[in-house]
Symmetry: C2
Subunit: 140 residues, 2 copies
DNA sequence: TAATGACTTATGCGTTTGCATCTATCCTAA
DNA sequence: TTAGGATAGATGCAAACGCATAAGTCATTA
């Protein structure tokens, strides 16, 4: 077992443990965690996002994301309109209700995250962010 | 945005990017990545594992795991038998075919992992393993 | 400008998932 | 010993998923 494999296994284990814990918390309201993730990704952009771009940040297949967006539009959280510059594509953004819902869930969830990671020192948090940042960057 | 939240987001992003990359590689044969994970977890234990114990290591709901085990038993990868000490429970282990399949997939996959994490120095790999280890430990 | 191939999103379809619940067994204490 | 609650795993069912592919648009080149 190489160092790299141990590190990856440990990362997966931490991801699974934390994800399960966050999922079990009673903060998600009318959304699933995956749906919240879509709203969160959109909340970070002020200009509308392309489906394909959003798909890069979400752990879902393209068809699954397409249908999840369907449902979120239907339910009034998302605005989907044709991209004027490229008629193949769409531009996605949060509706006011979507933004509101994202905030309402994001606040308590952010507190859970802070609490769960409070076993790490500030230095360790910085190291973790730096190292994982390096990993996702190398994929592009 | 606190340090903790930045670290968690960066961890999620790295997990998503790497998972997608590994999933796209042509090493999984007749298994999905999730199924492989079950076989891998079992390959690490020499004594049979309880379903509930296995469930702690896998990112699946209890019913979903129960049925996935069903299918893996059906397909000849897993052996499921009643636990003699607790008649509510079952004891899961790999069949020879299951062990063989796990190895056949595990080898090339481990190489992919090594390659993907080769952007990190040995020190960074150790730090990553230590920090994420601390995170999953604090959940127990 | 017409043809070819790449790209973006949507849809058909069979499989898998999660939630709620059920059954069976275990454990504790009256 | 037996009633009540906890725990382990399985099952019914609707919702969501991934794979393969379709439909529409763009970009290149002949």
């Amino acid at each position: 077992m190489t160092r790299a494999n141990e590190a990856w296994e440990s990362l997966m284990k931490a991801y699974a443990a934390l994800t399960k814990q966050f999922n079990a918390e009673d903060v998600w309201g009318e959304l699933t965690m995956r749906e919240y993730d879509v709203l969160y990704q959109l909340s970070k952009c002020d200009s509308p996002l392309r489906m394909s771009e959003l798909n890069r940040h979400v752990l879902l297949s393209q068809p699954a994301l397409s249908r999840m967006v369907d449902r979120l539009v239907e339910r009034g959280y998302l605005d989907r309109r044709p991209d004027p510059g490229d008629r193949r594509g769409v531009r996605l953004s949060l509706t006011p209700a979507g933004r509101e819902t994202q905030r309402a869930i994001g606040l308590p969830h952010a507190r859970s995250v802070t609490r769960a990671l409070s076993v790490l020192t500030p230095e360790e948090l910085d190291q973790l962010a730096a190292i994982t940042g390096k990993l996702s960057q190398s994929e592009e």
